[in-house]
Symmetry: C2
Subunit: 143 residues, 2 copies
Amino acid sequence: MAKAARSAKNLTAQTTARLRQSGLRPTRQRVELAGLLFDDCDRHVTAESLHDEITKAGVKVSLATVYNTLHQFTQAGLLRQVIVDAARSYFDTNTGDHQHFFLEKEGMLIDIPGEAISVAGVPNPPPGLTVDRVDVVVRVKRA
Amino acid sequence: MAKAARSAKNLTAQTTARLRQSGLRPTRQRVELAGLLFDDCDRHVTAESLHDEITKAGVKVSLATVYNTLHQFTQAGLLRQVIVDAARSYFDTNTGDHQHFFLEKEGMLIDIPGEAISVAGVPNPPPGLTVDRVDVVVRVKRA
DNA sequence: GTGTTTGCAAAGTGTTTGCAATTTA
DNA sequence: TAAATTGCAAACACTTTGCAAACAC
């Protein structure tokens, strides 16, 4: 099976292993969701968009489970939550150091590589506080 | 009345004028809310915190009106909305160029002067998009 | 007076939770 | 079988809205 590195069976196996490594039982729902999230390139989803997607793929997963799974994946370090919109929560499969363009009208996020951007001059936080993370959101509009 | 530049009567008059200039009728509720928001230094409020505050001050304003007023003030350019938390909306009386520390646990925002911080290396947005604003949120934690 | 604004209560939206039934190991 | 997970429906927190009464000019 040397040449079948990306066969469906293999992907499922990889996904299963990945979930196990993260301490999550590879249930049908988690494997299916992980399949959508981690198979290809980096992705940005909301609970609803992911639920729509998996439903349209003919897989039955409740919205509540999608919410729970997104949080479990986030806690396991497989996803990162991105806060750019008061109305909904986005989850990013790219957990590395990077920032975002955000197109509010369409609810679209676009990654900006961490190396590209640099933030200088952040003052020391008030006494007793330490910097956890610096988030940059470049809000863009259709010209 | 030369020395009474900050008398209650004068403040009300200033507030009233300010609201008029923004095309907002100086109703009792708007004047009271504006009084809390704009009298002193820069402030960060949520609808609920502002409603609590004005209620504790003995002034009756419904929560719905606080929400409406915050949006009207924002639209008039007197406030700016700050998105740092998926759960609630913050409004900032500082409408100038600046950024924020955010202490998630306590829901506290602290201004960072715009001159202090600089963001370099923002890539050109994808074709058809223009940069509207660059928001920096420095998430901090108790040490 | 006339058009604006308010307040209430109801509706809305995205999200979380309690718990019985199901699934995993 | 024991423990973890799911799905449903109800509960939730925050926010918006419809409309009659109150208010500003």
